[in-house]
């Protein structure tokens, strides 16, 4: 009974459910939420919410709905939020600097342990309390601080070589904002967000 394949989109939605539940905990006084209410908040269907959650166990109570606090806790476990994963950012340009200041990362269990750049003019400067380090020290820092994840905010030209170095150093998860396709070997997970692609998709689908 526990070996059902879980759809990939389900995991994405679990993050959204948790985000929504946390907002509810702050704003609402009710202790419980129904699948249809949660669905409405995210423009989904109620059966989708129920099915997604049911893959991982029985969290609800028939007739009542889901306890907000308890469901949040369960989702945190499923999503691995209890585990702290030290993360680094490669590239201290506009986007990299903005990401380095993004406090949500540490709140969600991804403390930024370093920001790297090749530009000698930037090295040594600080962003939000984080000193920009020389790319030459990348491997050393990864090993010493037990880094497992990286965020890439470098340009298209350097993206693949940076990825290769990260993989070589044992990084297992990469979030790339570089506007190019890069490849990683089996065993390393890569997710790419290309901001230009995102805006283009808005244009394609509007009206």
């Amino acid at each position: 009974m526990e070996n059902k394949r879980i759809p990939i989109p389900t995991f994405q939605r679990l993050s959204l459910y948790l985000r929504e539940l946390e907002h509810m905990q702050r704003k609402e006084r009710v202790k419980t939420v129904s699948s249809s209410k949660l669905a409405a908040a995210l423009s989904l269907t109620d059966s989708q919410v129920r099915k997604d959650l049911a893959y991982f166990g029985q969290f609800g109570h028939r007739g009542l709905g889901y306890n907000i606090v308890k469901l949040s806790e369960s989702l945190k476990k499923i999503l691995g939020r209890n585990i702290i994963r030290s993360t680094i950012i490669i590239g201290a340009g506009n986007l990299g600097s903005a990401l380095a200041s993004y406090s949500e990362f540490s709140h969600r269990g991804f403390p930024i342990e370093g920001v790297f750049d090749v530009d000698k003019k930037k090295i040594g400067k600080k962003i939000n309390g984080l000193v920009i380090r020389d790319m030459d020290t990348l491997e050393k820092v990864i090993a010493k601080k037990n880094i497992t994840m990286a965020i890439i905010a470098v340009n298209a030209i350097h993206a693949q070589s940076v990825v290769d170095r990260l993989v070589e150093s044992g990084i297992k998860g990469i979030l790339s904002f570089a506007p190019i396709a890069v490849t990683v070997p089996e065993g390393v997970f890569l997710r790419t967000v290309d901001i230009s692609v995102e805006i283009e998709q808005v244009a394609v689908h509007m009206e």
Copy 2:
């Protein structure tokens, strides 16, 4: 024959194909590319590439592949890159400022015509040549400059009210970076990128 439903993921991939073709135009000397080569570059299957393209016409030549320049031109038309869409950014915090400096937007047909914020201390300052405007002038600027798209980089608390104002002013496409679910009425297209969700998904799927 022309009324086939086109899968939504196909449009996303068209953007990737075009991005890849443009890189090839810069780097490679060959005039042509096969579906399998294009697929390999993006970690997709060759039949997927062919099917995606075939929804929009016959762009290839059997035995030869696709002409890179011609296919690029066709994809640009399909994706609407020939049309210039004036865009604004709401929120001049870290992320909003980084986005305001992101030159790819104008290169791809999305010139940034304004950056807005409520913070009086920021208003009047410049980011990359763009003056930060008072949110009070939002509606006026949208009407005057014929803005149809907006990028939102405000916090969770203000996101929905900003969206409502944009919709009210006639904006038809929104790209939101706010870490919250917002809703738009029928006829307005919304796409959300939540950076915290993205990094969390990397953690969930790695190893």
